[in-house]
């Protein structure tokens, strides 16, 4: 259970987030939607400790995350797939995966988890020992999702995973996310500008506008509200 309360963040004079409050429950996908510059990336970066918060609290399973280091938060079971994917291009595909297991898995489990990930994304198998820089956009997306799931996170933060992907690939990605979330104890926060496809797999939706929460409701309610869609979501 992720509980964000009265969270405010500013970059100098720019108020990126103002008193943001919402919760995300395990076994469900919570979509965070909003236009460019609404503060979605800032929200995820504050949760994982990359951005210093001004005030407010971020609790995950009762633990306060504000004030912890980035790697400390990761070691609480938080996996963050950043904007623009964030593969390490100079490492091989396998090394990218292995890196994410080092703090949480023993040697034997580690190798098994890597094999499982390659089984989940067979496309990646052929690039195993190649530099990740040669991967295509879709393959990069597979790598970062696999890298996030490999540490069996409790909380998965995804920043616009569908950006730049073909519609068919996006649909596959969303289905995969749903399969890995529903019925598990993983909490997923899915940031998207592509609101339609995000809402199709989410249970809850939070809409940000200029750093403030304007809607916090069940995903199907938000999807059905044409006024809201028109105003904030652009479809």
């Amino acid at each position: 259970m992720l509980e964000v309360q009265e969270l405010s963040v500013s970059y100098g004079a720019v108020h990126a987030l103002t008193a943001v409050t919402f919760a995300a429950t395990p076994g469900a996908i919570t979509a965070v939607l909003g236009a460019n510059g609404a503060g979605k990336t800032t929200l995820l970066r504050s949760i994982s400790g990359l951005v210093k918060t001004q005030s407010g609290s971020i609790r995950f399973n009762g633990q306060e995350l504000v004030g912890k280091t980035v790697e400390g938060i990761a070691r609480c079971g938080v996996a963050h797939v950043p904007e623009g994917r964030g593969i390490i291009e100079e490492l091989t595909v396998e090394e990218n995966l292995r890196l994410a297991t080092l703090w949480c898995l023993g040697r034997r489990e580690r190798e098994r988890a890597i094999e499982e990930t390659f089984a989940l994304f067979p496309r990646l198998t052929g690039f195993r020992r190649r530099h990740a820089s040669i991967l295509s956009g879709g393959e990069r997306q597979m790598l970062v999702i696999g890298r996030a799931l490999i540490s069996r996170p409790q909380l998965l933060l995804l920043d616009e995973p569908s950006l730049g992907l073909a519609p068919l690939v996006t649909a596959g990605l969303m289905a995969l996310l749903r399969d890995h979330t529903v019925g598990t104890d993983m909490t997923v926060v899915l940031v998207e500008q592509n609101a339609r496809s995000a809402l199709s797999v989410s249970q809850r939706a939070v809409v940000l506008n200029l750093g403030e929460v304007v809607v916090n409701d069940a995903a199907d309610v938000v999807a059905a509200d044409s006024n809201l869609r028109h105003h904030y979501l652009g479809f």
């Binding site: 994982s48 990359l50 280091t69 980035v70 790697e71 990761a74 070691r75 996996a79 963050h80 950043p82 964030g86 593969i87 390490i88 291009e89 100079e90 490492l91 090394e95 292995r98 890196l99 994410a100 080092l102 703090w103 949480c104 890298r147 540490s151």
Partner: protein, 292 residues
């Protein structure tokens, strides 16, 4: 022919010493994007400590081990105390701080040991080997230098390629933020990188001290050549640094041997400029334009 062989052997030996120091520079540069001007002075300081230990009667090997251990701690301390507070500020500030450290260490060594040069004992005989009937300019000590630096290089390579610690170090050098998101304690690894660089540099100092005029300034010129080598190699590639170092060692040796030893620095400069004009990012860079 004999002259050529001797000059070549000499160049390779020098190149190996440059390689150890260049490796230190690259370890630090690729992790922190800092050129460590104090690397040579740190090595000078630890070599002087080794000199004291040797004079107190400690055996050569124990002295070497102690020197490398002290260098490890010194490197870590420098990162923690001087470099960490500068993170993310102007890119020239770390340069000035390392120059400051260079000056402090040379002043300190001069105050303790004096500025005049002394003799430093080698581990093995420095007289040339005899092959067949000819004596060549290659001694047991030169062989020791080669072996020691090769061990350093193979060890570094094994660390980076074959261990998870090395994977973590490479990852945090390439992308600190993403590594941290994956649970890597990047701060500790940066400290470790500086510590290992300290060890590599200290080895260079300890090995070259017997063949140079051993004074507080004995690493200055070697640092410049190691820089030249690291820049030629592309600054981020350990393999490039070693290749660059051997190249610089050979080139300097040929210039000294055939033209005049006082022109060696000029030779190094010319090679550096030729390489940089052909490849402004060095020979072993990824070819990716990095705006610094």
């Amino acid at each position: 022919m004999g002259l050529f062989v001797n000059i070549t052997l000499d160049g390779i030996t020098n190149g190996m010493v440059f390689a150890a120091l260049a490796l230190a520079l690259v370890l630090i540069f690729r992790a922190t994007k800092i050129l460590n001007f104090a690397q040579g002075a740190m090595a000078m300081m630890t070599t002087f400590i080794g000199f004291t230990l040797l004079n107190r009667g400690l055996g050569y090997w124990w002295a070497l081990v102690a020197v490398l251990a002290i260098a490890f701690v010194l490197g870590a301390l420098v990162e923690r105390v001087l470099i960490r507070p500068l993170q993310g500020k102007s890119e020239l500030n770390p340069v000035i701080v390392t120059i400051g450290l260079l000056v402090v260490l040379e002043g300190l060594a001069g105050a303790i040991y004096g500025n005049s040069s002394r003799g430093f004992p080698p581990a093995y005989s420095q007289s040339g080997l005899t092959i067949g009937h000819t004596k060549i300019a290659f001694s047991h000590f030169d062989i020791f230098i080669l072996v020691a630096v090769l061990v350093l290089m193979v060890g570094t390579l094994a660390l980076f390629r074959a261990t998870t610690l090395g994977l973590r170090m490479r990852a945090s050098a390439f992308s600190g933020e993403i590594s941290r998101l994956l649970g890597v304690r990047v701060g500790r690894l940066l400290t470790l990188g500086w510590a290992l660089a300290g060890v590599a540099g200290a080895l260079a100092g300890f090995l070259v001290a017997p063949t140079s005029s051993f004074s507080p300034y004995f690493m200055d010129l070697i640092l410049v050549y190691a820089f030249t080598a690291a820049v030629i190699g592309g600054l981020e590639s350990p393999v490039g640094a070693v290749a660059g170092a051997v190249g610089v060692g050979l080139a300097l040796s040929y210039v000294s041997g055939y033209i005049g030893s006082d022109l060696a620095p000029l030779g190094g400069f010319v090679i550096l400029i030729v390489v940089l004009m052909l490849r402004p990012q060095g020979l072993f860079s990824f070819g990716r334009q990095r705006q610094v």
